[in-house]
Amino acid sequence: MRDAELMEKVVRAVRDSAPRPVDPEPAHRLVDDLGFDSLRMASLAIALETEMGQPVLLNDWIASAPSLSDLTVQSLATHMAANLEPGS
């Protein structure tokens, strides 16, 4: 999957699960800028599942960030890219 295509899917998932209407950008911080909380992360996981075709677990992504502020749309796309199946 191309980076741009993946980012498009991630942006769509973030937009669909955000607590308020947003137009997500790569630099947006999910908690600080977009208002995500731990419960909303479940909606994000499900939205990503719809986009990616496989259940998604976000705890590794959440735990791997140095701080809450590092949970950005870009870091999520990077995490998803790292977990993509070869050739998908």
């Binding site: 499900i46 599942e49 990616m52 075709g53 496989q54 259940p55």
Partner: protein
């Protein structure tokens, strides 16, 4: 701001509503505002402070898991928890009487906040539940007062039950145990709180904060007894449980000051920064995923739900449906037999919980579009053998006088399609007075409901059950996923015995895996389904080729075993997991998060290992296959090999 303060007739009403969340979270913003509000209380003007919730289903659910995820060092714990500790101390030191008016879930730090108050009143509804979630859900030592202030209120024994053994109390139980001072009908809760506060202001209600401590007889002996019990639980948890008991003992010896606070912070630091807690947060996210999916996709076409989980919790569910305020959107049409609670129950053939062959909806194809296509996580069609015939002896007729308890409830008016009858199968797990309690491990499962739903886009029932405090899993096909999971677990254990392992060695392996609930408890959970249920369900896990001696082997597992008498056999853990893998891959549950929920609540799969499906990575399965004995059925082995070979786990 999270709290909306309102001063009226000399009473400061603090109404909590966490913005943008379905439940209240005592986050750092709430802590800072609490501290500020407490500093502003003027005893010359304010005669009482009331803390209440604007959300009817949640008083306070927790402190915010996301933040805790970033607590990595002792310094982090000290710094991040400081606003909370200051806020709680300020409530405790409030110069005027404080009242916690509790409606909805009062969990973890919510209960600890209520403990700082002078008075507690609660609504007598389904959603009001007192529970300390720290140990059971997060493997953490609670930090905000329960190790100091709970035992003096409810006694040491009950405090340990709440802190260590995940006891969950409704409002009436909380009243009986002295945790709260009054309960009120939910419809009249605001008025009851107003009246209660008026009595508090008049000085007619004694403060629970300043009342003489009632630790109960010989609290140190009670703690010593708990320490013995802790020796039997999985080693994964020894440190955290031991530290909590140390803090209780310190408080029982009268040290509730700085030394207690210092050691409490150390204990919380050790537990919060441990990998156990990090894994447990992952399970929290999976619970939320399952809850969200259940609300999105619960259309109950087959008119059947299976209940599992904690016996008393499930029975309370029946009782509440029968006697008390109806759930919104669910109306009781017919009560279960009055003797359900006392009578051992066998299930009628062809009832939904009995896996009757040719039941309505059997062999129904999986619904299209419910989840991602072709993923390995329980979306595949049922595997060959899943519909195998029952082994001899299964589904024998009920003994005379047995009941097939069903409860017909009407779903509506929240449902777009209108009313529909839903039949409730007997709860898994026996009632508390059935004589099986002594076989159960102390941590019960959570109230858990499996909705057997064929295709979905309706949420009324699932939502109502979640509001009632149940965790909901969705399944489809011709069998309940709960039954498949328990059957596979029991088949694994029986297979080990049939091959010459001792019950003690099997028990030791389950302890090492991290299961509180071991073979006798797993067996007793199926007892309400009838005498033959365990044999039938384990037989199914063998693919219909139940081995000779299955029933005696299961009978052998009923007796409590002594792990000390067993040998170390780590291969048995792998073998046990490989038996569960086909259920996770091809069973009736509609999503891996539902498998994980059921594995947690029915099998007690440890949160310290995150979850069953997350644990079963292709690499781990590949390694497990290298050492697994030949007794693993060829079908299970082939399925595991295919899964490991594909290299694609349950979760991305």
């Amino acid at each position: 701001m999270p709290f909306s303060p309102e001063e009226r007739d000399g009473v400061l009403w603090l109404t909590l509503e966490t913005p943008g969340a379905s439940v209240n979270i005592f986050n750092s913003a709430t802590a800072k505002q609490t501290l500020e509000l407490m500093r502003q209380v003027d005893p010359g003007r304010v005669r009482a402070v009331v803390i209440r919730s604007a959300k009817a289903t949640s008083f306070i659910n927790g402190a915010g898991v996301l933040l805790v995820t970033y607590v990595k060092t002792p310094e982090d714990v000290a710094a991040e928890s400081l606003p909370y500790r200051e806020a709680y101390a300020a409530v405790r030191a409030c110069p005027v009487p404080t009242v916690a008016a509790i409606q909805g879930s009062c969990w973890g730090c919510g209960l600890e906040l209520a403990l700082q108050c002078d008075h507690r009143i609660a609504a007598d509804d389904h959603g009001t539940q007192f529970r300390l979630t720290e140990m059971s859900d997060y493997v953490e030592v609670p930090l905000f007062g329960s190790t100091r202030f709970l035992a003096p209120v409810v006694g040491m024994r009950k405090a340990i039950d709440l802190l260590l053994w995940d006891d969950r109390w409704g409002a009436r139980r909380a009243l009986e145990e002295g945790l709260i001072q009054e309960v009120a009908a939910p419809a009249m809760f605001p008025e009851a709180v107003e009246a209660f506060v008026r009595r508090v202001v008049r000085g007619d209600v004694p403060s629970q904060k300043t009342a003489p401590p009632r630790l109960g007889p010989d609290p140190l002996a009670v703690i010593a007894e708990a320490r013995k019990k802790v020796e039997s639980i999985p080693p994964l948890y020894h440190r955290t449980f031991g530290d909590t008991l140390d803090l209780l003992e310190l408080a029982a010896r009268g040290e509730v000051g700085e030394e207690h606070a210092r050691r409490g912070l150390l204990a919380t630091t050790a537990s919060t920064t441990h990998p156990n807690a990090k894994a447990a947060y992952g399970m929290f996210h999976l619970r939320q995923t399952a809850a969200t999916l259940a609300m999105w996709g619960a259309q109950v076409d087959e008119h059947a739900i299976a209940l599992g989980g904690e016996g008393p919790g499930v029975l309370r569910f029946f009782e509440e449906l029968r006697k008390r305020q109806p759930l919104a959107g669910v109306r009781v049409l017919a009560a279960p037999p009055a003797d359900l609670i006392r009578a051992p129950v066998a299930h009628a053939p062809n009832s939904p919980g009995a896996h009757a062959p040719n039941s309505p909806g059997a062999h129904a194809p999986n619904s299209p579009g419910a989840h991602a296509p072709n993923s390995p996580g329980a979306h595949a069609p049922n595997s060959p053998g899943a519909h195998a015939p029952n082994p001899p002896g299964a589904h024998a007729p009920n003994p005379p006088g047995a009941h097939a308890p069903t409860l017909t409830i009407l779903v509506g008016p929240n449902d777009a399609r209108g009313a529909e009858d839903v039949e409730v199968s007997p709860p898994l797990f026996p009632p508390p007075d059935s004589g099986a309690d002594s076989l159960c491990w102390p941590i019960p499962g959570g109230p858990f409901v499996e909705l057997h739903a064929a295709r979905g886009a309706r949420s009324g029932l699932a939502h109502a059950l979640q509001r009632a405090g149940f965790q909901v899993a969705l399944s489809r096909g011709d069998a309940y996923g709960s039954h498949q999971l328990l059957g596979a677990a029991l088949a694994a254990l029986a297979s080990m015995l049939l091959d010459g392992e001792t019950p003690h060695t099997v028990d030791r392996a389950l302890r090492e895996l991290g299961l509180f609930r071991r073979a006798p408890a797993l067996l007793s959970s199926l007892r309400p389904l009838g005498a033959y249920a365990a044999v039938a369900l384990a037989g199914r896990a063998f693919g219909g080729q139940a081995p000779q001696g299955l029933a005696p082997a299961l009978a052998q597992l009923e007796a409590p075993a002594d792990f000390r008498a067993g040998r170390d056999a780590p291969g048995l853990i792998d073998e046990f997991l490989l038996w569960l893998l086909p259920v996770a891959l091809d069973g009736s549950f509609q999503h891996p998060s539902f498998v994980d929920l059921a594995a947690r609540e029915l099998l007690d799969f440890p949160v310290a290992r995150l979850s069953l499906c997350a644990h079963l990575t292709p690499d781990r399965v590949r390694r497990a296959l290298e050492g697994v004995p030949a007794r693993l059925p060829a079908r299970a082995r082939a399925r595991a090999e295919a899964y490991a070979g594909a290299g694609k786990g349950f979760y991305r």
